[in-house]
């Protein structure tokens, strides 16, 4: 099976096969000796031609997260079908282009300075998000009109939660 792995801005080709119950992977033209052993639910020992690597691997929203030597790699694996779909341009279908202001960190909404229908310019303060005792001003990332407010003062929000919509003129 051919897989395409995208790591940051690098694209790698992998060819995976199973030989005698053991997976063989050809990566960028060479086929190393591999041995992967699970240590705990997320932790693995990987020997590549005898070189020892300690990895944490877990599925994420759009692929896999691999922790290796104090760094987290975000890896997107695509097979031939995935790549075909992407080529057909379906990936971006249905995406809403209006401005969604989301919570950069989890926290508590302590103040809201805008109302639905208000006109804002980029940089205007929208609300104050208190996290770990620090007050963080959330500013408008673009100019426009305030659409829906998804939060109220006193709400606790998760990272990435939609806070305010801004409609760009």
């Amino acid at each position: 099976m051919i897989l395409q792995a995208t790591v940051a801005d690098r694209v790698l080709q992998l060819n995976i096969s199973v030989d005698d119950g053991k997976p063989r992977v050809e990566i960028e033209g060479h086929q190393p000796q591999l041995d992967l052993v699970k240590l705990s639910p997320y932790s693995y020992s990987l020997l590549i031609d005898g070189q020892s690597h300690h990895l944490s691997i877990r599925p994420s929203r759009d692929g896999y997260m691999v922790d290796l030597r104090r760094r987290t790699y975000h890896i997107c694996l695509q097979d031939e079908l995935d790549l075909t779909i992407e080529k057909m341009g379906l990936k971006d279908a249905g995406r809403d282009r209006s401005g969604h202001v989301t919570a950069p960190i989890p926290g508590l909404i302590t103040a809201i300075s805008v109302r639905k229908g208000d006109k804002v310019v980029a940089g205007d303060q929208l609300l104050v998000l208190e996290a770990m005792k620090m007050e963080n001003e959330i500013a408008a990332p673009m100019s426009g009109t305030i659409g829906a407010l998804h939060i109220a003062t006193g709400d606790t929000v998760e990272k990435g939660a939609r806070l305010v919509d801004i409609h760009v003129q």
Binding site: R10, V18, I27, L36, S43, I48, S56, Y73, R95, P106
Partner: protein, 502 residues
């Protein structure tokens, strides 16, 4: 005598205090909020009592519930750790009124030194210089503007009610003063219930140097030497070391002497820290006194061999110091890196999530104090400190090399931490030479970023191999689930994105 200690805290400091209690053979009681039921300090303690729901105000700051926990567990002493109620005079008084021993200085001393106005007055009378402007705090913008124009810009605004960087702002010109003042005042009010702030002259290229003092009820006061705490982000310390690589032996001597005079003058007992700012010309100013155990106390313990928490408990139980100034002979060099659940390369944004994997370093000269375990959820309710990694070396260089090695060994997976950032600092030439000041992170942040990016050993292929092997193994596990093969496909991604943007 103390027969049982209740620790009015959580996380790494609660764990650290339990360890000393164990060695003194005193049972330790943990308190916990509903969010901390399975936290390590609860698992380690002899007894544990729930004191309320997750928000600090309902749990770790809830005086009535904490006192009730002490009564019901028959604890006859309370150790407050640092943060939360550690410097709260009303709490200390309530503890004493309940007939419980308070492991810390008297409430009168907490009040005297907790109020920056009276603390600065006392320091000044003890012969310590004060920063220009920093005499009277204010909540009035007009008064703030007057002080600012008198001492000259840039000025520093900071909370009168407490420290830790909360409510602090630097203002370089008069236009910026009103919004910065307003925000600092509001942060001060919400964090310390006191909206007054100081408007002070900014000291150029300052070093944050502090002296650890220790006192008993009989009036014996000793200095445990200094700690240099100039690697700071948002005015909060992240890396500390002892001895200071910057101050001269004369300044060191003088700061120690002043700290002992100040501790004596305020009738101090137990462990305390007198903080100073030292400018590029070795001129120094009294900053404040922290009337509690300090986060970075382990490095002092590493070079002196003392257990400061055990000594705190001894002094609280009425014993006199069993050592004198001549018994404190620091040896070698110690460093501390604070491990926060924050992304050091993204403005120290807090990171929350589950600790999926924890591998801790060991070996010669390593000390790790932490309060996490695999599977523990890091929530946004409390201070983001996960632990402190300390190393000792015969020389500063040895301690730095050891720290680099120990940071490499430490694996915390699942939340972003300051570990990669600390590694970058250890490798920076200015830090290695030891001539950094409190603007180090602001001045060299880009260097640190670049170092981190360049040291991105090209392990993309290994990571990709790992992910591919993992996905192959996952798929072969569930061959009869038709959607398993597609679980990661673009079709599902489209569906998910549509739902999210709906």
């Amino acid at each position: 005598m103390i027969s049982k200690v209740l620790i009015a805290n959580r996380g790494e400091i609660a764990v650290r205090i339990i360890r000393s209690c164990r060695e003194l053979n005193i049972p330790a009681v943990a308190i916990y909020s509903e969010a901390d039921r399975t936290a390590p300090h609860v698992l380690m303690a002899d007894e544990a009592t729930c004191i309320g729901p997750p928000p600090s105000i309902d749990s770790y700051l809830n005086v009535d519930h904490i006192l009730e926990a002490a009564r019901s567990t028959k604890a006859d002493a309370i150790h407050p750790g640092y943060g939360f109620l550690a410097e709260n005079a009303a709490f200390a008084q309530a503890v004493l009124d309940a007939g419980i021993t308070w492991v810390g200085p008297d409430p009168q001393t907490l009040e005297l030194m907790g109020d920056k106005v009276s603390a600065r007055r006392l320091a000044q009378e003890s012969g310590a210089p004060i920063i220009p402007g920093g005499v009277e705090p204010t909540a009035d913008i007009k008064a703030a503007e007057a002080i600012a124009s008198e001492v000259g810009y840039p000025i520093l605004i900071k909370a009168a009610g407490g420290g830790g960087g909360k409510g602090m702002r630097i203002v370089v010109n008069p236009n910026e003063l009103p919004p910065a003042f307003k925000r600092a005042r509001s942060e001060s009010a919400s964090t310390f219930a006191d909206e007054r702030v100081y408007v002070e002259k900014v000291i150029e290229q300052p070093h944050h140097v502090e002296i650890q003092v220790f006192a008993d009820r009989a009036g014996n006061v000793v200095s445990f030497g200094e700690r240099e705490c100039s690697v700071q982000r948002r005015y909060q310390k992240i890396i500390e070391e002892t001895p200071s690589p910057f101050i001269t032996p004369e300044v060191k001597e003088e700061l120690s002497k002043l700290a002992v005079i100040i501790a004596t003058a305020c009738g101090y007992t137990g462990a305390g820290t007198v903080e100073f700012l030292v400018d590029k010309n070795q001129r120094f100013y009294f900053l404040e006194m922290n009337t509690r155990l300090q986060v970075e106390h382990p490095i002092t313990e590493m070079v002196t061999g003392f257990d400061l928490v055990a000594e705190q408990i001894q002094v609280a139980s009425g014993k006199s110091l069993t050592f004198g100034q001549e018994d404190i002979r620091p040896r070698g060099h110690a460093l501390e890196c604070r491990i926060y659940a924050e992304d050091g390369f993204d403005n120290f944004t807090p990171s929350t999530g589950r600790v999926l994997e924890l591998t801790t370093p060991g070996g010669v000269g390593i000390r790790l104090d932490h309060g996490i375990r695999e599977g523990l959820e890091i929530t946004p309710h409390y201070d983001p400190i996960l632990g402190k990694l300390c190393t000792w070396g015969r020389t500063r260089r040895e301690a730095i090399n050891r720290m680099t090695r120990a940071l490499e060994e430490l694996r915390i997976v699942g939340v972003r931490t300051t570990v990669p950032f600390c590694m970058a600092v250890m490798s920076h030439p200015v830090f290695k030479q030891g001539d950094y000041c409190t603007s180090f992170i602001a001045d060299y942040g880009d260097d640190l970023q670049t170092w981190a990016a360049n040291n991105k050993d090209s392990l993309d292929e290994i990571a990709a191999l790992g992910a591919a092997l993992f996905s192959t193994a996952e798929k072969s596990k569930s061959p009869d689930r038709p959607d398993a093969r597609l679980s990661n496909s673009a079709w599902l991604r489209i569906g998910r994105e549509e739902q999210i943007s709906r």
